[in-house]
Protein backbone atom coordinates (compact mmCIF):
# COMPACT_ATOMS: atom_id res chain seq x y z
CA UNK A 1 0.00 0.00 0.00
CA UNK A 2 1.35 3.44 -0.94
CA UNK A 3 1.88 6.17 1.66
CA UNK A 4 -1.02 8.08 0.15
CA UNK A 5 -3.38 5.09 0.36
CA UNK A 6 -2.27 4.27 3.90
CA UNK A 7 -2.84 7.86 4.96
CA UNK A 8 -6.37 7.86 3.51
CA UNK A 9 -7.12 4.58 5.34
CA UNK A 10 -5.93 6.08 8.61
CA UNK A 11 -7.88 9.29 8.04
CA UNK A 12 -11.08 7.38 7.31
CA UNK A 13 -10.59 5.08 10.29
CA UNK A 14 -10.19 8.15 12.48
CA UNK A 15 -13.55 9.50 11.32
CA UNK A 16 -15.41 6.20 11.49
CA UNK A 17 -13.98 4.66 14.63
CA UNK A 18 -12.21 7.44 16.52
CA UNK A 19 -8.76 5.88 16.03
CA UNK A 20 -6.67 9.07 15.98
CA UNK A 21 -3.42 7.58 14.65
CA UNK A 22 -3.62 9.95 11.67
CA UNK A 23 -3.18 12.94 14.01
CA UNK A 24 0.58 12.25 13.93
CA UNK A 25 0.55 13.36 10.28
CA UNK A 26 -1.55 16.48 10.76
CA UNK A 27 -0.22 19.93 11.63
CA UNK A 28 -1.56 22.32 14.24
CA UNK A 29 -2.78 25.50 12.56
CA UNK A 30 -1.56 28.96 13.65
CA UNK A 31 -4.62 29.28 15.89
CA UNK A 32 -5.92 25.80 16.63
CA UNK A 33 -4.84 22.32 17.73
CA UNK A 34 -4.93 19.48 15.20
CA UNK A 35 -7.40 17.53 17.37
CA UNK A 36 -9.96 20.30 16.98
CA UNK A 37 -9.33 20.64 13.25
CA UNK A 38 -9.66 16.90 12.62
CA UNK A 39 -12.74 17.04 14.83
CA UNK A 40 -14.42 19.29 12.22
CA UNK A 41 -14.39 16.33 9.81
CA UNK A 42 -15.46 13.83 12.49
CA UNK A 43 -18.42 15.98 13.53
CA UNK A 44 -19.41 16.77 9.94
CA UNK A 45 -19.59 13.07 9.07
CA UNK A 46 -22.23 12.14 11.62
CA UNK A 47 -24.20 15.36 11.38
CA UNK A 48 -24.37 15.31 7.58
CA UNK A 49 -25.65 11.74 7.46
CA UNK A 50 -28.20 12.26 10.23
CA UNK A 51 -29.39 15.36 8.39
CA UNK A 52 -29.84 13.26 5.24
CA UNK A 53 -31.99 10.84 7.24
CA UNK A 54 -34.00 13.76 8.64
CA UNK A 55 -34.63 15.10 5.13
CA UNK A 56 -35.86 11.71 3.93
CA UNK A 57 -37.94 10.96 7.03
CA UNK A 58 -39.51 14.25 8.05
CA UNK A 59 -42.63 12.63 9.53
CA UNK A 60 -40.70 10.04 11.52
CA UNK A 61 -38.69 12.97 12.86
CA UNK A 62 -41.93 14.80 13.81
CA UNK A 63 -43.26 11.64 15.43
CA UNK A 64 -40.30 10.84 17.70
CA UNK A 65 -38.86 14.35 18.22
CA UNK A 66 -35.30 15.71 17.89
CA UNK A 67 -33.64 13.73 20.67
CA UNK A 68 -34.89 10.28 19.73
CA UNK A 69 -34.43 10.91 16.00
CA UNK A 70 -30.81 11.90 16.59
CA UNK A 71 -30.30 8.76 18.69
CA UNK A 72 -31.83 6.59 15.94
CA UNK A 73 -29.81 8.45 13.32
CA UNK A 74 -26.48 8.07 15.10
CA UNK A 75 -27.15 4.37 15.70
CA UNK A 76 -28.06 3.86 12.03
CA UNK A 77 -24.97 5.76 10.84
CA UNK A 78 -22.75 3.63 13.10
CA UNK A 79 -24.33 0.38 11.89
CA UNK A 80 -24.60 1.29 8.20
CA UNK A 81 -21.63 3.26 6.83
CA UNK A 82 -22.66 4.70 3.47
CA UNK A 83 -21.50 2.74 0.46
CA UNK A 84 -23.21 4.73 -2.26
CA UNK A 85 -21.71 7.90 -3.70
CA UNK A 86 -25.17 9.46 -3.85
CA UNK A 87 -26.53 10.54 -0.46
CA UNK A 88 -30.04 10.03 -1.88
CA UNK A 89 -29.79 6.29 -1.17
CA UNK A 90 -28.28 6.40 2.32
CA UNK A 91 -31.60 6.09 4.15
CA UNK A 92 -32.81 3.04 2.22
CA UNK A 93 -32.02 0.63 5.05
CA UNK A 94 -33.72 2.60 7.82
CA UNK A 95 -37.07 0.69 7.84
CA UNK A 96 -35.27 -2.64 8.24
CA UNK A 97 -32.90 -1.17 10.82
CA UNK A 98 -35.88 -0.06 12.90
CA UNK A 99 -37.12 -3.65 13.06
CA UNK A 100 -33.99 -4.58 14.98
CA UNK A 101 -32.71 -4.18 18.50
CA UNK A 102 -34.52 -1.86 20.87
CA UNK A 103 -36.63 -0.23 18.18
CA UNK A 104 -38.26 -3.51 17.15
CA UNK A 105 -40.75 -3.35 20.02
CA UNK A 106 -42.29 -0.22 18.42
CA UNK A 107 -43.34 -1.48 14.96
CA UNK A 108 -44.96 1.87 14.15
CA UNK A 109 -41.42 3.30 13.74
CA UNK A 110 -40.43 0.81 11.08
CA UNK A 111 -43.83 1.09 9.36
CA UNK A 112 -43.67 4.88 9.24
CA UNK A 113 -40.13 4.75 7.85
CA UNK A 114 -41.22 2.16 5.27
CA UNK A 115 -44.11 4.33 4.09
CA UNK A 116 -41.91 7.43 3.83
CA UNK A 117 -39.26 5.45 1.96
CA UNK A 118 -41.84 4.14 -0.52
CA UNK A 119 -43.16 7.67 -1.14
CA UNK A 120 -39.60 8.99 -1.59
CA UNK A 121 -38.84 6.19 -4.02
CA UNK A 122 -42.05 6.88 -5.96
CA UNK A 123 -41.09 10.57 -6.23
CA UNK A 124 -38.01 9.95 -8.37
CA UNK A 125 -38.84 6.52 -9.82
CA UNK A 126 -38.43 5.90 -13.53
CA UNK A 127 -40.84 7.69 -15.85
CA UNK A 128 -43.15 5.65 -18.11
CA UNK A 129 -46.21 6.36 -20.28
CA UNK A 130 -49.52 5.59 -18.56
CA UNK A 131 -52.45 3.61 -19.96
CA UNK A 132 -55.54 5.76 -20.64
CA UNK A 133 -59.15 4.58 -20.49
CA UNK A 134 -59.38 5.22 -24.24
CA UNK A 135 -56.64 2.64 -24.82
CA UNK A 136 -58.94 -0.06 -23.41
CA UNK A 137 -61.59 0.62 -26.07
CA UNK A 138 -59.27 -0.89 -28.63
CA UNK A 139 -59.64 -4.39 -27.19
CA UNK A 140 -62.55 -6.55 -28.42
CA UNK A 141 -64.66 -8.08 -25.61
CA UNK A 142 -63.38 -11.58 -26.46
CA UNK A 143 -59.78 -10.38 -25.94
CA UNK A 144 -60.31 -9.25 -22.36
CA UNK A 145 -59.71 -12.64 -20.76
CA UNK A 146 -56.16 -12.57 -22.12
CA UNK A 147 -55.29 -9.01 -21.15
CA UNK A 148 -52.11 -8.64 -19.12
CA UNK A 149 -51.05 -5.51 -17.31
CA UNK A 150 -47.79 -3.79 -16.52
CA UNK A 151 -47.54 -1.75 -13.33
CA UNK A 152 -46.03 1.74 -13.42
CA UNK A 153 -42.37 1.63 -12.26
CA UNK A 154 -43.17 3.99 -9.39
CA UNK A 155 -45.72 1.58 -7.85
CA UNK A 156 -44.96 -0.34 -4.68
CA UNK A 157 -47.03 -2.53 -2.36
CA UNK A 158 -46.52 -2.69 1.41
CA UNK A 159 -48.28 -4.84 3.98
CA UNK A 160 -47.79 -3.09 7.33
CA UNK A 161 -48.85 -4.26 10.76
CA UNK A 162 -49.89 -0.95 12.36
CA UNK A 163 -52.31 1.94 11.83
CA UNK A 164 -49.48 3.75 10.06
CA UNK A 165 -51.76 5.33 7.43
CA UNK A 166 -53.72 7.22 10.10
CA UNK A 167 -50.52 8.23 11.91
CA UNK A 168 -48.95 9.42 8.63
CA UNK A 169 -52.01 11.50 7.70
CA UNK A 170 -52.13 13.21 11.11
CA UNK A 171 -48.43 14.04 11.04
CA UNK A 172 -48.74 15.34 7.50
CA UNK A 173 -51.50 17.68 8.62
CA UNK A 174 -49.40 18.71 11.63
CA UNK A 175 -52.00 17.22 13.99
CA UNK A 176 -51.59 15.01 17.07
CA UNK A 177 -51.34 11.44 15.72
CA UNK A 178 -53.56 8.69 17.12
CA UNK A 179 -52.02 6.12 19.46
CA UNK A 180 -50.12 3.49 17.50
CA UNK A 181 -51.93 0.15 17.46
CA UNK A 182 -51.14 -3.22 15.95
CA UNK A 183 -53.78 -4.41 13.49
CA UNK A 184 -55.33 -7.88 13.37
CA UNK A 185 -55.10 -7.79 9.58
CA UNK A 186 -52.20 -5.96 7.91
CA UNK A 187 -52.80 -2.60 6.26
CA UNK A 188 -52.40 -3.26 2.52
CA UNK A 189 -50.97 -0.08 1.01
CA UNK A 190 -50.37 0.78 -2.62
CA UNK A 191 -47.88 3.60 -3.22
CA UNK A 192 -47.24 5.27 -6.58
CA UNK A 193 -46.62 8.57 -8.34
CA UNK A 194 -49.45 10.24 -10.23
CA UNK A 195 -47.83 12.65 -12.69
CA UNK A 196 -45.24 14.18 -10.29
CA UNK A 197 -47.02 13.63 -6.97
CA UNK A 198 -46.36 10.58 -4.75
CA UNK A 199 -49.63 9.03 -3.48
CA UNK A 200 -50.77 6.09 -1.41
CA UNK A 201 -54.04 4.42 -0.58
CA UNK A 202 -55.22 1.44 1.39
CA UNK A 203 -56.53 -1.56 -0.54
CA UNK A 204 -59.07 -4.21 0.43
CA UNK A 205 -57.68 -7.73 0.71
CA UNK A 206 -59.36 -8.57 -2.59
CA UNK A 207 -57.97 -5.60 -4.53
CA UNK A 208 -54.52 -6.13 -3.03
CA UNK A 209 -54.56 -9.73 -4.22
CA UNK A 210 -55.65 -8.69 -7.72
CA UNK A 211 -52.99 -5.95 -7.90
CA UNK A 212 -50.22 -8.29 -6.79
CA UNK A 213 -51.25 -10.98 -9.27
CA UNK A 214 -51.88 -8.55 -12.13
CA UNK A 215 -48.44 -7.01 -11.58
CA UNK A 216 -47.01 -10.53 -11.76
CA UNK A 217 -48.49 -11.06 -15.25
CA UNK A 218 -51.66 -13.05 -14.52
CA UNK A 219 -54.27 -12.31 -17.28
CA UNK A 220 -57.61 -10.67 -16.60
CA UNK A 221 -59.70 -13.84 -17.05
CA UNK A 222 -57.71 -15.71 -14.42
CA UNK A 223 -57.76 -12.66 -12.14
CA UNK A 224 -61.58 -12.71 -12.29
CA UNK A 225 -61.62 -16.39 -11.36
CA UNK A 226 -59.40 -15.57 -8.40
CA UNK A 227 -61.68 -12.70 -7.38
CA UNK A 228 -64.63 -15.13 -7.46
CA UNK A 229 -63.09 -16.99 -4.53
CA UNK A 230 -63.15 -13.83 -2.37
CA UNK A 231 -66.76 -12.72 -2.72
CA UNK A 232 -69.90 -13.08 -4.86
CA UNK A 233 -68.71 -15.13 -7.87
CA UNK A 234 -71.29 -13.62 -10.20
CA UNK A 235 -69.99 -10.12 -9.53
CA UNK A 236 -66.30 -11.00 -9.86
CA UNK A 237 -65.84 -9.71 -13.44
CA UNK A 238 -67.58 -6.42 -12.59
CA UNK A 239 -65.43 -6.01 -9.46
CA UNK A 240 -62.30 -6.76 -11.47
CA UNK A 241 -63.27 -4.21 -14.12
CA UNK A 242 -63.96 -1.67 -11.37
CA UNK A 243 -60.51 -2.12 -9.82
CA UNK A 244 -58.95 -1.88 -13.27
CA UNK A 245 -60.84 1.34 -13.97
CA UNK A 246 -59.49 2.84 -10.73
CA UNK A 247 -55.90 1.84 -11.52
CA UNK A 248 -56.07 3.35 -15.01
CA UNK A 249 -57.53 6.67 -13.86
CA UNK A 250 -54.87 6.86 -11.12
CA UNK A 251 -52.06 6.37 -13.63
CA UNK A 252 -50.99 3.07 -12.10
CA UNK A 253 -50.60 1.07 -15.31
CA UNK A 254 -47.97 1.59 -17.95
CA UNK A 255 -48.87 -1.23 -20.30
CA UNK A 256 -51.74 -3.51 -21.34
CA UNK A 257 -51.59 -6.16 -23.99
CA UNK A 258 -53.46 -9.22 -25.19
CA UNK A 259 -50.33 -11.12 -26.21
CA UNK A 260 -49.26 -14.29 -24.46
Amino acid sequence: MSDFARQQSDFQRGILSGDDKVLAEILDSPKEKREVLFGVYKYAYGSRLVEALRNDHKLLHSYVGDEMFDEIGQAYVAANPSQNPNLRWFSQGLPDFLKTASYGEYPILSDLAALEKALNDAFDAKDAPVVELADMAGFAPEAWNDLRFEAHPSSCRLDLSTNVAAVWLSLKEDEMPPDAVSLEQPARLLIWRQDVTPMFRELSAEEAMMWDEASGGIPFGVLCSMLATYDDPDGAAARGAGYLHGWITAGLLTGVSAEF
Binding site: Q12, V40, N86
Partner: protein
Protein backbone atom coordinates in the same frame (compact mmCIF):
# COMPACT_ATOMS: atom_id res chain seq x y z
CA UNK B 1 2.25 -14.64 -28.48
CA UNK B 2 3.46 -11.81 -26.32
CA UNK B 3 0.20 -10.15 -25.30
CA UNK B 4 2.03 -7.26 -23.70
CA UNK B 5 3.50 -6.29 -27.06
CA UNK B 6 -0.03 -5.87 -28.42
CA UNK B 7 -1.09 -3.50 -25.70
CA UNK B 8 -1.33 0.21 -26.46
CA UNK B 9 1.46 2.49 -25.41
CA UNK B 10 1.05 4.51 -22.20
CA UNK B 11 -1.71 7.14 -22.35
CA UNK B 12 -1.27 9.76 -25.03
CA UNK B 13 -0.72 13.34 -24.01
CA UNK B 14 -3.91 15.29 -23.48
CA UNK B 15 -3.54 17.11 -26.80
CA UNK B 16 -3.55 13.81 -28.72
CA UNK B 17 -6.76 12.45 -27.21
CA UNK B 18 -10.08 12.48 -28.97
CA UNK B 19 -12.18 14.46 -26.56
CA UNK B 20 -13.64 17.86 -25.91
CA UNK B 21 -10.67 19.71 -24.44
CA UNK B 22 -11.38 23.25 -25.68
CA UNK B 23 -11.71 25.96 -23.04
CA UNK B 24 -15.34 26.13 -21.83
CA UNK B 25 -17.26 29.21 -22.97
CA UNK B 26 -17.83 32.33 -20.88
CA UNK B 27 -21.41 32.21 -19.56
CA UNK B 28 -21.75 35.36 -17.46
CA UNK B 29 -23.32 35.45 -13.99
CA UNK B 30 -25.19 32.43 -12.69
CA UNK B 31 -26.72 30.71 -9.70
CA UNK B 32 -26.80 27.23 -8.21
CA UNK B 33 -30.18 25.67 -9.06
CA UNK B 34 -32.08 24.61 -5.92
CA UNK B 35 -35.46 22.87 -5.66
CA UNK B 36 -36.89 25.70 -3.52
CA UNK B 37 -36.77 28.00 -6.56
CA UNK B 38 -38.09 25.67 -9.30
CA UNK B 39 -41.54 27.28 -9.57
CA UNK B 40 -40.25 30.86 -9.55
CA UNK B 41 -37.65 30.13 -12.21
CA UNK B 42 -40.03 28.27 -14.50
CA UNK B 43 -42.81 30.78 -13.92
CA UNK B 44 -40.81 33.98 -14.16
CA UNK B 45 -37.69 33.39 -16.29
CA UNK B 46 -35.52 35.50 -13.94
CA UNK B 47 -32.57 37.33 -15.56
CA UNK B 48 -29.88 34.82 -14.58
CA UNK B 49 -27.32 33.98 -17.27
CA UNK B 50 -26.87 30.30 -16.41
CA UNK B 51 -27.46 27.64 -13.75
CA UNK B 52 -25.19 25.13 -12.08
CA UNK B 53 -26.87 21.90 -10.95
CA UNK B 54 -25.60 19.39 -8.39
CA UNK B 55 -25.12 16.32 -10.58
CA UNK B 56 -26.08 13.79 -7.90
CA UNK B 57 -29.47 15.48 -7.35
CA UNK B 58 -30.42 14.46 -10.88
CA UNK B 59 -28.69 11.08 -11.13
CA UNK B 60 -32.07 9.49 -10.49
CA UNK B 61 -34.34 7.10 -12.38
CA UNK B 62 -36.96 9.78 -13.22
CA UNK B 63 -39.67 11.96 -11.72
CA UNK B 64 -40.03 15.68 -11.12
CA UNK B 65 -36.37 16.71 -10.66
CA UNK B 66 -35.36 15.49 -14.12
CA UNK B 67 -38.48 16.94 -15.73
CA UNK B 68 -37.74 20.34 -14.20
CA UNK B 69 -34.13 20.13 -15.31
CA UNK B 70 -35.23 19.36 -18.87
CA UNK B 71 -37.34 22.54 -18.87
CA UNK B 72 -34.62 24.69 -17.30
CA UNK B 73 -32.02 23.61 -19.83
CA UNK B 74 -34.36 24.60 -22.64
CA UNK B 75 -34.13 28.19 -21.37
CA UNK B 76 -30.72 28.55 -19.72
CA UNK B 77 -27.18 27.21 -20.21
CA UNK B 78 -26.52 24.55 -17.56
CA UNK B 79 -23.31 23.17 -16.07
CA UNK B 80 -23.04 20.02 -13.94
CA UNK B 81 -21.24 20.17 -10.59
CA UNK B 82 -20.65 16.93 -8.70
CA UNK B 83 -19.65 16.13 -5.13
CA UNK B 84 -18.91 12.40 -5.39
CA UNK B 85 -16.28 11.95 -8.10
CA UNK B 86 -13.68 11.37 -5.37
CA UNK B 87 -10.95 12.04 -7.92
CA UNK B 88 -8.15 11.87 -5.32
CA UNK B 89 -9.26 8.61 -3.70
CA UNK B 90 -6.73 5.80 -3.78
CA UNK B 91 -9.61 3.29 -4.06
CA UNK B 92 -10.56 2.13 -7.57
CA UNK B 93 -12.89 4.63 -9.29
CA UNK B 94 -16.61 3.94 -8.99
CA UNK B 95 -17.42 3.19 -12.64
CA UNK B 96 -21.12 2.84 -11.92
CA UNK B 97 -21.08 6.44 -10.70
CA UNK B 98 -19.14 7.53 -13.77
CA UNK B 99 -21.64 5.77 -16.05
CA UNK B 100 -24.49 7.61 -14.31
CA UNK B 101 -22.64 10.90 -14.68
CA UNK B 102 -22.11 10.26 -18.37
CA UNK B 103 -25.79 9.35 -18.85
CA UNK B 104 -26.86 12.57 -17.17
CA UNK B 105 -24.43 14.59 -19.30
CA UNK B 106 -25.91 13.00 -22.43
CA UNK B 107 -29.35 14.26 -21.34
CA UNK B 108 -28.34 17.69 -20.02
CA UNK B 109 -25.57 18.55 -22.51
CA UNK B 110 -23.85 20.73 -19.91
CA UNK B 111 -21.38 23.41 -20.90
CA UNK B 112 -18.91 21.63 -18.63
CA UNK B 113 -18.72 19.07 -15.82
CA UNK B 114 -16.99 19.94 -12.57
CA UNK B 115 -16.18 18.35 -9.22
CA UNK B 116 -13.65 18.87 -6.44
CA UNK B 117 -9.98 18.15 -5.81
CA UNK B 118 -10.64 15.84 -2.87
CA UNK B 119 -11.56 12.29 -1.91
CA UNK B 120 -14.76 11.03 -0.28
CA UNK B 121 -13.84 7.56 0.94
CA UNK B 122 -11.89 4.31 0.52
CA UNK B 123 -12.57 0.58 1.11
CA UNK B 124 -16.07 0.79 -0.38
CA UNK B 125 -17.29 3.42 2.07
CA UNK B 126 -18.39 6.97 1.38
CA UNK B 127 -18.03 9.69 3.99
CA UNK B 128 -19.95 12.26 1.90
CA UNK B 129 -17.41 14.97 2.61
CA UNK B 130 -14.79 16.79 0.55
CA UNK B 131 -11.73 15.40 2.32
CA UNK B 132 -8.24 16.97 2.16
CA UNK B 133 -5.13 15.50 0.58
CA UNK B 134 -1.41 15.95 1.20
CA UNK B 135 0.24 18.00 -1.54
CA UNK B 136 2.90 15.45 -2.39
CA UNK B 137 4.41 14.32 -5.69
CA UNK B 138 2.94 10.88 -5.08
CA UNK B 139 -0.54 12.34 -4.68
CA UNK B 140 -0.05 14.56 -7.74
CA UNK B 141 0.95 11.61 -9.95
CA UNK B 142 -2.05 9.68 -8.69
CA UNK B 143 -4.58 12.46 -9.25
CA UNK B 144 -3.19 13.30 -12.71
CA UNK B 145 -3.67 9.68 -13.77
CA UNK B 146 -7.21 9.62 -12.33
CA UNK B 147 -8.18 12.86 -14.07
CA UNK B 148 -6.87 11.48 -17.36
CA UNK B 149 -8.89 8.29 -16.86
CA UNK B 150 -12.09 10.17 -16.03
CA UNK B 151 -11.61 12.53 -18.97
CA UNK B 152 -11.08 9.61 -21.32
CA UNK B 153 -14.20 7.91 -19.92
CA UNK B 154 -16.36 11.01 -20.23
CA UNK B 155 -14.82 12.10 -23.53
CA UNK B 156 -14.26 15.63 -22.28
CA UNK B 157 -11.93 17.66 -20.10
CA UNK B 158 -13.32 18.16 -16.61
CA UNK B 159 -13.18 21.17 -14.29
CA UNK B 160 -11.85 20.78 -10.73
CA UNK B 161 -12.50 23.04 -7.76
CA UNK B 162 -10.27 23.88 -4.80
CA UNK B 163 -12.04 22.80 -1.57
CA UNK B 164 -12.09 24.46 1.83
CA UNK B 165 -9.72 22.62 4.13
CA UNK B 166 -9.46 22.66 7.92
CA UNK B 167 -6.10 20.94 8.30
CA UNK B 168 -2.79 20.36 6.54
CA UNK B 169 -0.61 17.25 6.42
CA UNK B 170 3.00 17.32 7.58
CA UNK B 171 4.25 15.47 4.48
CA UNK B 172 3.11 18.04 1.91
CA UNK B 173 5.90 18.93 -0.53
CA UNK B 174 4.22 21.85 -2.29
CA UNK B 175 1.47 24.41 -1.78
CA UNK B 176 -2.14 23.82 -2.77
CA UNK B 177 -1.84 26.34 -5.64
CA UNK B 178 1.30 24.65 -6.93
CA UNK B 179 -0.50 21.31 -6.80
CA UNK B 180 -3.55 22.68 -8.68
CA UNK B 181 -1.37 24.38 -11.29
CA UNK B 182 0.62 21.23 -11.99
CA UNK B 183 -2.53 19.10 -12.02
CA UNK B 184 -4.14 21.36 -14.60
CA UNK B 185 -1.00 21.59 -16.73
CA UNK B 186 -0.33 17.85 -16.76
CA UNK B 187 -3.89 16.50 -17.02
CA UNK B 188 -5.52 19.21 -19.13
CA UNK B 189 -8.32 19.73 -16.61
CA UNK B 190 -9.67 23.27 -16.14
CA UNK B 191 -10.01 24.98 -12.77
CA UNK B 192 -13.00 26.20 -10.81
CA UNK B 193 -11.65 28.89 -8.48
CA UNK B 194 -13.88 28.96 -5.41
CA UNK B 195 -13.17 32.39 -3.98
CA UNK B 196 -14.78 31.59 -0.64
CA UNK B 197 -12.83 28.34 -0.30
CA UNK B 198 -9.56 30.17 -0.92
CA UNK B 199 -10.50 32.68 1.78
CA UNK B 200 -11.50 29.90 4.23
CA UNK B 201 -8.37 27.79 3.65
CA UNK B 202 -6.09 30.84 3.80
CA UNK B 203 -7.54 31.86 7.16
CA UNK B 204 -7.40 28.32 8.52
CA UNK B 205 -3.77 27.79 7.50
CA UNK B 206 -2.48 31.31 8.06
CA UNK B 207 -1.47 32.50 4.60
CA UNK B 208 -2.50 35.43 2.43
CA UNK B 209 -5.32 34.41 0.04
CA UNK B 210 -3.76 36.67 -2.59
CA UNK B 211 -0.67 34.45 -2.63
CA UNK B 212 -2.96 31.56 -3.61
CA UNK B 213 -4.59 33.72 -6.24
CA UNK B 214 -1.25 34.79 -7.71
CA UNK B 215 -0.08 31.18 -7.83
CA UNK B 216 -2.84 29.91 -10.12
CA UNK B 217 -2.26 30.15 -13.90
CA UNK B 218 -4.77 32.69 -15.20
CA UNK B 219 -5.53 30.87 -18.43
CA UNK B 220 -6.74 27.67 -16.68
CA UNK B 221 -9.57 29.20 -14.61
CA UNK B 222 -13.02 28.88 -16.19
CA UNK B 223 -15.39 29.41 -13.26
CA UNK B 224 -15.71 31.26 -9.95
CA UNK B 225 -17.81 30.17 -6.99
CA UNK B 226 -18.91 32.67 -4.34
CA UNK B 227 -20.51 31.58 -1.08
CA UNK B 228 -20.77 32.28 2.64
CA UNK B 229 -19.22 30.52 5.62
CA UNK B 230 -19.32 30.22 9.44
CA UNK B 231 -16.56 31.82 11.51
CA UNK B 232 -15.60 29.82 14.61
CA UNK B 233 -12.95 32.25 15.91
CA UNK B 234 -9.89 30.04 15.49
CA UNK B 235 -11.06 28.56 12.20
CA UNK B 236 -13.71 29.01 9.50
CA UNK B 237 -16.10 26.29 8.38
CA UNK B 238 -17.35 26.31 4.79
CA UNK B 239 -21.09 26.00 5.44
CA UNK B 240 -22.52 27.74 2.35
CA UNK B 241 -25.41 28.92 4.51
CA UNK B 242 -24.68 32.67 4.74
CA UNK B 243 -24.47 35.59 2.33
CA UNK B 244 -21.07 36.32 0.80
CA UNK B 245 -19.01 38.41 3.26
CA UNK B 246 -17.11 41.61 2.45
CA UNK B 247 -13.69 39.97 2.57
CA UNK B 248 -14.78 37.43 -0.04
CA UNK B 249 -16.27 40.18 -2.24
CA UNK B 250 -12.88 41.94 -2.06
CA UNK B 251 -11.07 38.74 -2.99
CA UNK B 252 -13.54 38.26 -5.88
CA UNK B 253 -12.56 41.70 -7.20
CA UNK B 254 -8.89 40.73 -6.96
CA UNK B 255 -9.67 37.44 -8.75
CA UNK B 256 -11.30 39.32 -11.64
CA UNK B 257 -8.21 41.54 -11.94
CA UNK B 258 -6.01 38.46 -12.16
CA UNK B 259 -8.16 36.03 -14.17
CA UNK B 260 -10.25 38.41 -16.28
CA UNK B 261 -13.71 37.51 -17.55
CA UNK B 262 -14.68 34.24 -15.85
CA UNK B 263 -18.14 32.61 -15.53
CA UNK B 264 -19.26 33.41 -11.98
CA UNK B 265 -21.97 32.05 -9.72
CA UNK B 266 -23.48 32.27 -6.27
CA UNK B 267 -23.52 28.92 -4.48
CA UNK B 268 -25.93 28.54 -1.54
CA UNK B 269 -26.46 25.03 -0.18
CA UNK B 270 -28.18 25.52 3.16
CA UNK B 271 -30.44 28.05 4.87
CA UNK B 272 -31.57 28.87 1.35
CA UNK B 273 -33.22 32.31 1.05
CA UNK B 274 -35.71 33.58 -1.52
CA UNK B 275 -34.70 33.83 -5.14
CA UNK B 276 -34.99 37.63 -4.87
CA UNK B 277 -32.38 37.69 -2.11
CA UNK B 278 -29.99 35.52 -4.10
CA UNK B 279 -30.60 37.69 -7.17
CA UNK B 280 -29.18 40.62 -5.21
CA UNK B 281 -25.95 38.67 -4.79
CA UNK B 282 -25.93 37.63 -8.46
CA UNK B 283 -26.38 41.29 -9.40
CA UNK B 284 -23.50 42.21 -7.12
CA UNK B 285 -21.21 39.75 -8.94
CA UNK B 286 -22.25 41.46 -12.17
CA UNK B 287 -21.73 44.99 -10.84
CA UNK B 288 -18.28 44.30 -9.39
CA UNK B 289 -17.16 42.73 -12.66
CA UNK B 290 -18.55 45.68 -14.64
CA UNK B 291 -16.48 48.10 -12.54
CA UNK B 292 -13.27 46.21 -13.29
CA UNK B 293 -13.64 44.78 -16.79
CA UNK B 294 -14.12 46.70 -20.04
CA UNK B 295 -17.62 46.25 -21.54
CA UNK B 296 -18.07 43.39 -23.99
CA UNK B 297 -18.11 44.78 -27.55
CA UNK B 298 -20.81 43.37 -29.74
CA UNK B 299 -19.89 43.32 -33.42
CA UNK B 300 -22.39 44.59 -36.00
Amino acid sequence: MNIASKLPQPPASVDDREMISAKPPYLGFGLGLRAQHYDEILGGNPPIDWFEVISENYMLPGGQPLRVLDRIRERYPVVMHGVSLSIASTAPPNFEYLAGLKDLARRVEPKWISDHLCWTGVHGKNLHDLLPIPYTNEALDHVVSRVQLVQDYLGRAIVLENVSTYLQFNNSEMTEWEFLSELSRRSGCWLLFDVNNVYVSAFNHGYDPRTFLEGIPADRVVQFHLAGHSHMGTHIIDTHDHPVCNEVWDLYAAAIRRFGRVSTMIERDDNIPSLDELMLEVNQTREIAAQILPPIRREG
